[in-house]
């Protein structure tokens, strides 16, 4: 009945107001919500995409507003395959907070998590406070991918998620290869979540 080849959990983080919820809704529902107002009662959104004949189901998790007072639960980060770390290019402060977010990622996310830095709201070019080059350098130094988007104008939103899906597929294939070739590399993480041996209760 399940019609996909891969399932990935993608988690969004970043300061409040940078456009995380808008990015998710733009991608999954194709709309830019007019009002503020978070979506009550929606936990994560699902979208299945097809890349070169491979069906990938993306489960995209939003913060549920807990970032507003810096109170995201650690459990939010667990077993994420990818993190979208978002800032607002028109808000220097949201960029300056990135190291703090990276510390949290390092503490609680899986070692192998793919992280992409996203500068959102490029439709507001005239209000830009963070230069593209600066962000690119920062991302590179932290070995993150980098992309600039506009949830409002739907710029690069599709690309953001599809690129991520591609990277995740590549990694997943690599992992199965590695696993088949028995012995893990030295320094490899042998304690990855044993997903098959654990119980999801629902």
């Amino acid at each position: 009945m399940e019609d996909y080849d891969y399932l990935f959990k993608i988690v969004l983080i970043g300061n409040a107001g940078v456009g995380k919820t808008c990015l998710v809704r733009r991608f999954t529902q194709g709309l830019f919500p007019p009002g503020q107002g978070a979506t009550i009662g929606v936990d994560f959104m699902i979208k299945t995409v097809e890349i070169k004949g491979v069906k990938v189901k993306l489960q995209i998790w939003d913060t549920a507003g807990q970032e507003r007072f810096r109170s995201i639960t650690q459990s939010y980060y667990r077993s994420a395959n990818a993190l979208i770390l978002t800032y607002d290019i028109t808000c220097e402060d949201s960029f300056r907070c990135l190291p703090e977010w990276l510390r949290e990622i390092e503490q609680y996310a899986n070692n192998q998590v793919v992280t992409i830095l996203v500068g959102n709201k490029i439709d507001l070019a005239e209000k830009r406070e963070v230069h593209r080059q600066r962000a690119e350098e920062f991302a590179e130094a932290q070995s993150m991918l980098y992309l600039e988007t506009s949830a409002k104008e739907s710029d690069n939103v599709e690309k953001l998620f599809l690129d991520l899906a591609c990277v995740l597929i590549r990694e997943a294939k690599q992992n199965t290869l590695d696993n088949n070739e028995s012995a893990p590399m030295p320094g490899e993480d042998p304690s990855l979540p044993p997903l098959l041996g654990s119980w999801m209760l629902s």
Binding site: I40, V42, Q74, S202
Partner: protein, 662 residues
């Protein structure tokens, strides 16, 4: 981060993020109440929290700092916000629920760094300190084994004490004679050093409270019913062990175990099966036990002609009750255990990956998803009470902001002693031990074991122990994380250290540590250990506090293995707030609400009224639950009665995971 202000009005303000408070938060938010959920700490879950190794060291430091400097709270910013017809009730700004904390580090450290010089750190006993001094000499003489020093000011070496036990003179002396660590002479297998524990610290998730989930307990039922289970993953406890005749033995509990057991005779196997079958529906066989209901369970077991072996297994490992608890309790506990078998694997228990501390966070996430507002590092100074009605109408937070509310829910440790009717508590004794191998040598390393340790002496407490491997995501590969818990009769160290030294090799002297292959070394070696007591307020009721009627105090955690106490309390408080609302109805499944957007980008939501209905905008949260209720399929009904029989007749039939799988 913007210095955002909190809204100034809520239906419920909840202070503390332990399990009970978090379940109440989720339940209230779920049915549309506006919830503000605060915690004074910078982490979730209070005394249910789990920490990375480094996080735990900070927690220990904080405890130590609090013991040394009595808090100087400046309560300000409230006077001008109080009207004539109001009065204030202050809350406590210090948490005194933890006591007798002691830390011992035995992991060797070859670090060049003097700061990291290391262990073992001596306990509070002067005798031990003398031994240590002797040990130093030996270490110097031999020049081969790792040094035993007590570094000063180094967090991992610290020994934390509360006022009633103080560092002995001898061990202070040790303090002043640090000896540099020479290289370890012999190294058989890869040794875990202290530096490795620190470096791999984030792989640890060390719970302050240790509990398991009964697979048919209230918590599992609630997780499934509410869909909060989607935020966590679980492993089943793979084996149940007991300390019997000085050995660690496997407890046969399922039919397969019983028949496969090597330590039981054929006669015993029959006896045990007969007895367990009786327990499954013991209510139907009044004649068998009616004369015993109030007589100790052990007497009943003896009367049933069960062998000493079997009595031990049933009393300590299956019923897990004390020798003198009445037969009726023993039978109920045995029945519960048996009914939990086979739902998720061959033991009755589950454990959350990443530790128990995940569970309160999962409920908090559910609360937030339904609009609850979260703020850690934020507390309440005082309650504003209306003199006439005697009710709490607002609080003043630690930033001096007045926030009104109709109900206030608070964890016990925030309550001042002068609001209590009684100030004596029960306590829980806890030990956390990091070891280098499993207690059962033959085990594969994917295991989680529950070990019951009957009282070592008639006067000592029964101890329960949970050993976690790295597959539980609570410790680094190559180590095991062991939790010991009992209800206190003395300090945690007094209660539990004898069990630790019985079951593990505690490197009390350096020479001993270097002997390889001795019998002592067959036991897991303790790398690091921590002991502490936690206040157990589970005996208190709301009438135990002198507080307004719309202030609800959350007590616990209690000392039992499961979490039924906390879940029952959460439901009770919820129904005091909202007598007519459903407790944690299922949250909608996102997959029922959201669709695959094959249509590509565009305003596909417009005109699709069905889907629009399912995604509910935040302006009017109070409507949310009504609409959602309809979109959710509820739990498939299951007859509990038939389950137990299934286990015993066809033990290997697994009941499928509940809920509609996606």
């Amino acid at each position: 981060m913007a210095a955002d202000n909190l809204p100034s009005e809520f239906d419920v303000i909840i202070l503390g993020t332990g399990l009970t408070e978090s379940v109440i938060a989720a339940a209230c938010s779920r049915v549309g109440l506006r919830v503000l959920h605060l915690d004074r700490r910078n982490y979730y879950a209070g005394n249910w929290a789990s920490f990375t190794f480094n996080g735990l060291l900070s927690w220990i430091e904080e405890y130590k700092a609090q013991q040394q400097t009595p808090s100087t709270t400046s309560e300000q910013g409230w006077n001008d916000q109080i009207e004539d017809e109001e009065e204030v009730v202050f809350l406590s700004s210090v948490d005194s629920s933890i006591s007798n904390l002691e830390v011992f580090s035995y992991a060797s450290d070859k670090s060049e760094d003097d700061e990291l010089l290391n262990s073992p750190v001596v306990g509070s006993l002067p005798k031990a300190a003398e031994e240590m001094n002797g040990c130093h000499k030996e270490a110097q003489d031999l020049g081969s084994s790792s040094a035993c020093t007590q570094g000063d000011g180094d967090p991992h070496n610290l020994e934390v004490k509360n006022q009633d036990s103080c560092l002995s003179e001898e061990s202070k002396k040790t303090d002043q004679q640090p000896i540099r660590s020479p290289e370890q002479a012999v190294e058989v297998k890869k040794k875990i050093t202290y530096a490795m524990l620190l470096k791999e610290g984030r792989r640890f998730n060390i719970d302050l409270m240790s509990k398991l989930l009964y697979s048919r307990g209230l918590l599992v039922d609630l997780l499934i019913k509410s869909n909060v289970s989607r935020y966590a993953e679980f492993k089943n406890i793979s084996c149940i062990l007991t300390c019997h005749n000085g050995k660690v033995e496997q407890v046969p509990c399922s039919r397969a175990d019983v028949f496969g057991s090597k330590q039981l005779t054929v006669v015993e196997k029959r006896m045990l099966m007969k007895f367990l079958t009786f327990c499954l529906d013991f209510e139907q066989h009044q004649e068998e036990f009616k004369d015993f209901t109030e007589i100790p369970f052990l007497e009943f077991l003896k009367c049933k002609n069960l062998t000493e072996n079997l009595q031990h297994f049933i009393l300590h490992s299956i019923a897990m009750v004390s020798q003198d608890s009445p037969t009726i309790n023993g039978l109920k506990a045995t029945q519960h255990f048996l009914r939990c078998l086979g739902r998720y694997g061959n033991t009755p228990f589950l454990f959350p990956l990443y530790g128990l501390g995940e569970i309160p966070q999962c409920f908090c996430r559910m609360c937030a998803v339904f609009g609850g507002i979260y703020c850690l590092r934020h507390s309440v100074q005082c309650l504003v009470v209306d003199k006439e009605s005697g009710k709490c109408k607002a609080v003043i937070d630690t930033h001096g902001q007045r926030i009104s509310c109709s109900h206030f829910v608070v964890e016990d440790s925030y309550i001042r002693d002068d609001q209590r009717m009684q100030t004596t508590y029960k306590k829980i004794s806890r030990a956390v031990v990091i070891t280098d191998r499993s207690i059962l040598p033959s085990q594969s390393d994917h295991q989680i074991s529950l070990v019951t340790v009957p009282p070592l002496e008639p006067s000592s407490p029964a101890v329960r122990m949970v050993e976690l491997s790295s597959f539980s995501m609570t410790c680094m590969p190559g180590t095991y994380l062991v939790h010991l818990t009992c209800s206190s009769s003395g300090s945690a160290h007094e209660d539990l250290a004898p069990v630790v030294s019985r079951l593990f090799h505690v490197p009390s002297s350096c020479t001993e540590e270097s002997i390889q292959g001795s019998e002592e070394n067959e036991k897991p070696v303790v790398l690091w250990a921590m002991y502490f007591n936690m206040r157990d307020t589970s005996g208190f009721e709301n009438s135990s506090y002198n507080l307004p009627s719309n202030v609800h105090v959350c007590t616990g955690p209690d000392d039992s293995l499961g979490s039924d106490y906390s879940i029952n309390l959460a439901e009770l408080v919820f129904h005091q707030l909202l007598p007519d609302e459903e407790f944690c109805p299922p949250a909608p499944n996102p997959e029922d609400i959201i669709y695959d957007g094959d249509q590509g980008e565009g305003a596909i939501f417009e005109g699709d009224s069905q889907k629009e209905e399912a995604v509910i905008e935040g302006e009017d949260g109070s409507q949310a639950h009504k609409q959602h209720g309809a979109t959710c399929s509820s739990e498939p009904a299951e007859s509990t009665d038939s389950i137990g029989h299934e286990i015993l007749t066809e033990y290997d039939i697994q009941s499928p995971p509940l809920g509609n799988s996606p």
